[in-house]
Structures are given as C-alpha cells and as structure tokens.
C-alpha cells in the first residue's frame, strides 16, 4: 500500500521534475512513433498489396527486426552517432533526437508488420473492385490504409507502447542526463540502482497506468472499428 500511496502522491504532487520526465517520455516516444509510422505504414501497405522485387527479403528482414533487443538497436545507433562514427559530425549523441532515432528504428518493424497484416485481408476483399475502377497505386494505398485505419492505429499504439517501455536503447544513446534525456524507464533503472526501490516502483506504476490507458484505447478503437468490418 505504501508504494501505491507513494505513486499516487507522486502523481498528485505533480512534481516539476516528474512532469518533465513523463513529458519527455511521451514526446520522444510519440515522435518516434510518428516518424516510424510515416515510413512503415505506406511500406507495410505496399508489401501487402503488390508483388515486387526483394519483397520477400524485406518481409523477412522486417520480421526479424521485431526480435531485435532494444540494447542492440541502441548500440548500433550509438556507434553511428558517436563522434568517431559516420554520423558523428551532427553531434546528436546524448540528445533526445538520438533517442527518437533509436526508438523509430525499434518501432518501424512493428508498425510495418502490423500494417501489412491489417491490409492483407482488406486488399483481398477490395482488389477486384479497385481493379475494376482502375484505381491508381497512390489512391489504392490511401483507400486501403484509410479503411484499415483502426487496425493500423492499433499497430501504431503497439509500437508506441514498446517505445515507451524500452530502456536499453534510450539509456545508451540518451545517456540518462538529468533534465535533458532522462525518461521514465531510465529513471526507474537509475532509482533501482540507487536502491530507491519504492520510488522506482512508484514510477513503474505510473508507467503501467499509461500502458493500461494505451491498451484501453486500443481496445476501444478495435470495438469501434469492428462495426465497419464485414462479418457476413
């Protein structure tokens, strides 16, 4: 009870540092989700709709990337962004930008795979109709993505959840700098290492609450979207 109480106290007190940490977590993960989605949704839809060279290879690669541990993604991004790395002169290691890049890479395969899965059956339904109307490739993408939007958004939220929950990548490329790159998960890791288990757990409960909220939204969107699905 004391831990729950402490979590509630933390939330109620609306401590500026805590708000900053939660805010940064959300902003970094939301931005990463947006960037990953802008690329992954059209590509995932294209993989579902068309046959093209390297399609199978792309699918295998993207599916494998889903199994990539965040810490490996973090390490790769770290090596790329370090001053001695190929992108070092931009000087973005240990900044939120670096964290956004790492999380985008983490989210990309998830959104890609879930979009592809959402579009595949829809494309089977629609294909003849769209063929009959000679719908252009761009229109076809837009139509299928729009009509699969509930499933696509579900994939997007799943990616967002993964980004928000991961610690391995952001701690390496962000450096867990207080007030600058410190997010919820790295704070939890830090407080655990300081032996402040109660505080760490209180933060964990806040993270859990956000996860519950996301899943409630996913569920709600899913039940809303099912109204539009043909069940006949």
């Amino acid at each position: 009870m004391t831990i729950l109480g402490q979590a509630a106290e933390l939330v109620v007190s609306a401590d500026a540092e805590l708000i900053g940490i939660v805010g940064l977590s959300l902003r970094v993960s939301l931005t990463a989700t947006l960037i990953a989605s802008l690329l992954a949704i059209p590509l995932g839809a294209a993989l579902a709709i068309w046959q093209f060279p390297f399609r199978q290879i792309l699918i295998v690669i993207s599916t494998s990337l889903m199994a990539l541990p965040p810490v490996v993604v973090g390490l790769i991004i770290y090596l790329l962004l370090s001053r001695v790395g190929p992108l070092g002169h931009y000087g973005i290691l240990f900044t939120p930008t670096a964290m956004i890049i790492a999380q985008s890479v983490l989210i990309f395969p998830i959104v890609l795979a879930l979009t592809r899965e959402a579009i595949l059956p829809l494309n089977r339904d629609y294909k003849n109709l769209l063929d009959a109307w000679d719908v252009s490739p761009v229109q076809r993408l837009k139509t299928l993505i729009w009509d699969a939007r509930f499933a696509v958004v579900t994939g997007l939220l799943a990616g967002f959840g993964r980004a928000l929950a991961e610690v391995g990548a952001v701690i390496i490329v962000g450096g867990n700098i207080a007030g600058f790159t410190r997010v919820m998960t790295t704070t939890i890791a830090l407080e655990t290492s300081k032996g402040n288990l109660q505080l760490a757990l209180a933060l964990g409960i806040i993270l859990l609450s956000i996860a519950v909220l996301i899943n409630a939204v996913i569920h709600w969107i899913g039940s809303f979207g099912s109204k539009y699905q043909v069940t006949r």
Partner: protein, 278 residues
C-alpha cells in the same frame, strides 16, 4: 492527415529544448548516485550560465565515451586509466579534484569475520577463506578495477561459485548483495546514499589501499576540434577553485560529508573531512 497534424502539434515542443551553452561531462555512477552533481552543478550553472549534461557510467565506459569525442570533460576515479588516457593524447590538463574511499560491505552477521580487520587485502582473504559470496561489479568501472587490484595484493585469483561477476553498476551490485547476503566493494558515497541496505553493513574501511581519488580531465581539442574547450576549462577551473572545492566539501548526505576536496592542498581542506575518510 488530421491525425498527423494533431501529432505534430503534440510533439512540437521537442524541438525547443536545445540550449547552446552546455558541456557534456562523462563521469561515474558513484558521483552521480550520491547526489553530488545535483548539489554542485546548479551552483556552477548559476554562476557561469553553462549547463552541464552528465553521462554517468562506469569509469571504463566514461573514458571510452571521452575517447570517442562524445564528451567535453571527464571526471573519473582510476588513476592508471586516466594516465593512459592522457598518454594517448585524448586528454589534457588532469587535476586532482577530490577523494573519498572504498569500503567493504557485507551481511550484518559477518560470516567471514571482517570486523577487527584493518587491511583491505586481509579482509578479502578472510572472505576467500570463508568462501562466502562476493559480488564483483565486473564492468571495468573504477571500483571494479580497484577490486581487482586488491585481489592481486592478496595473491588470490578469485574464481569459483562464491565469486560472482555481475557486469553491472554499483547499485545493482549492492541490491544483489542485499538479497543474497554477499560481500562487495563499494565507494563510500554510493553506500551512504543507497536506499535498500537491507541486512547489509559497512564492515571494513580506513585502509590506505582503499583511498579513492577523483581526477578531472579535459578532452583534447587537438584530437576533437568540436569539443567545447573553453566552457570545459571554465568548469574544470571552477571545480578546483576555492569556491568549487568548498562546495564539494560542503556536500553532505544524511549529515555525512561524502567527498574530500583535495585540488589545492594549501587550502588544507582535509581538515574538514570527516574522520571516516582517511
């Protein structure tokens, strides 16, 4: 499209937090976890307007970050590694800043009977003889390097079920020691600020071999022209100035002073160090 717009509005603040006047300090978890930087840096920033972004990792990793040019200044605690860093031309202008000491932590009931032993190497030997659990950081941190040096003094090569290298930070090592009732070597600052002591107690300290000095080194701008050498030097100068040194000496946790400033022996600041620190 509306979704995307809403998204963009939501994330817009992300691009606004870049401040130009800052330096990146690669340092150790021992200094960070104790809360020293939370106390010290606001004073420095208020005076100079320079922000300090601290990356707290093990000494080994901190040095590697600096070697890659990803930090402007380095504050660590392993003299041989620091000297190698300087010798390889990565760093310039090393200065003594402060020190504290390492301590041996173990279960309160002290199965290896460390109480009464004064020499650290004798303490480790007692642990080895009793074959009680010992947690080693195993992460190339300053503490880990010191631990290995102490084992070398005993002539014992620590291996076996009782010796567990966990490859993690000081806090993780203390957490594990608390849960499996093991001994471990810690810096005093982390130990004092550690919140999950459980049945652990400080069992051995005060040996000169446990002396733990911290040095500050600037990353060589000849090697990495992008480093913010002026601001880094301002920071280094302040750390060893009377003001900085006094601030370090004034930092306490639970009314215990954690670090002894020693940049300028003439100030004789050692006199304000607690008796617990040699």
């Amino acid at each position: 499209m509306r979704f995307i717009l809403a998204f963009l509005i939501l994330i817009a603040p992300v691009s606004t937090y870049a401040e130009d006047r800052f330096i990146t300090l690669a340092s150790t978890t021992s200094t960070q976890n104790s809360g020293l930087y939370d106390y010290l840096l606001p004073i420095f920033t208020a005076k100079t307007g320079i922000g300090v972004r601290v990356i707290s990792v093990g000494t080994g990793q901190a040095i590697r970050i600096a070697q890659n040019g990803d930090a402007d200044v380095l504050l660590v605690h392993h003299r041989p590694s620091e000297d190698a860093f300087l010798a390889q031309g990565y760093g310039i202008e090393r200065r003594d800043v402060m020190y504290n000491d390492f301590v041996i932590i173990g279960p309160k009931d002290d199965p290896a009977k460390l109480a009464g032993i004064t020499r650290a190497s004798d303490g480790l030997k007692a642990i080895y003889d009793a074959q009680t659990l010992f947690i080693s950081r195993g992460d190339e941190s300053g503490t880990h390097k010191r631990e290995r040096a102490l084992w070398a003094d005993t002539g014992i090569v620590p291996t076996g079920d009782w010796y567990r290298e966990i490859g993690a930070g000081m806090g993780a090592a203390l957490n594990m020691a608390a849960s499996v009732e093991a001994y471990t070597l810690s810096d005093r600052g982390t130990w004092l600020s550690f919140g999950n002591k459980g049945d652990l107690a400080l069992l051995l300290s005060g040996d000169d071999a446990l002396f733990n000095p911290y040095g500050i080194i600037l990353v060589n701008p000849a090697k990495y022209p992008h480093v913010k050498i002026d601001m880094a030097r301002t920071f280094s100068d302040w750390m060893v100035s009377a003001e900085g040194q006094t601030a370090i000496g004034a930092f306490t946790l639970k009314k215990v002073q954690l670090f002894c400033p020693n940049a300028n022996p003439k100030l004789n600041l050692k006199t304000i160090c607690p008796t617990s620190v040699p």
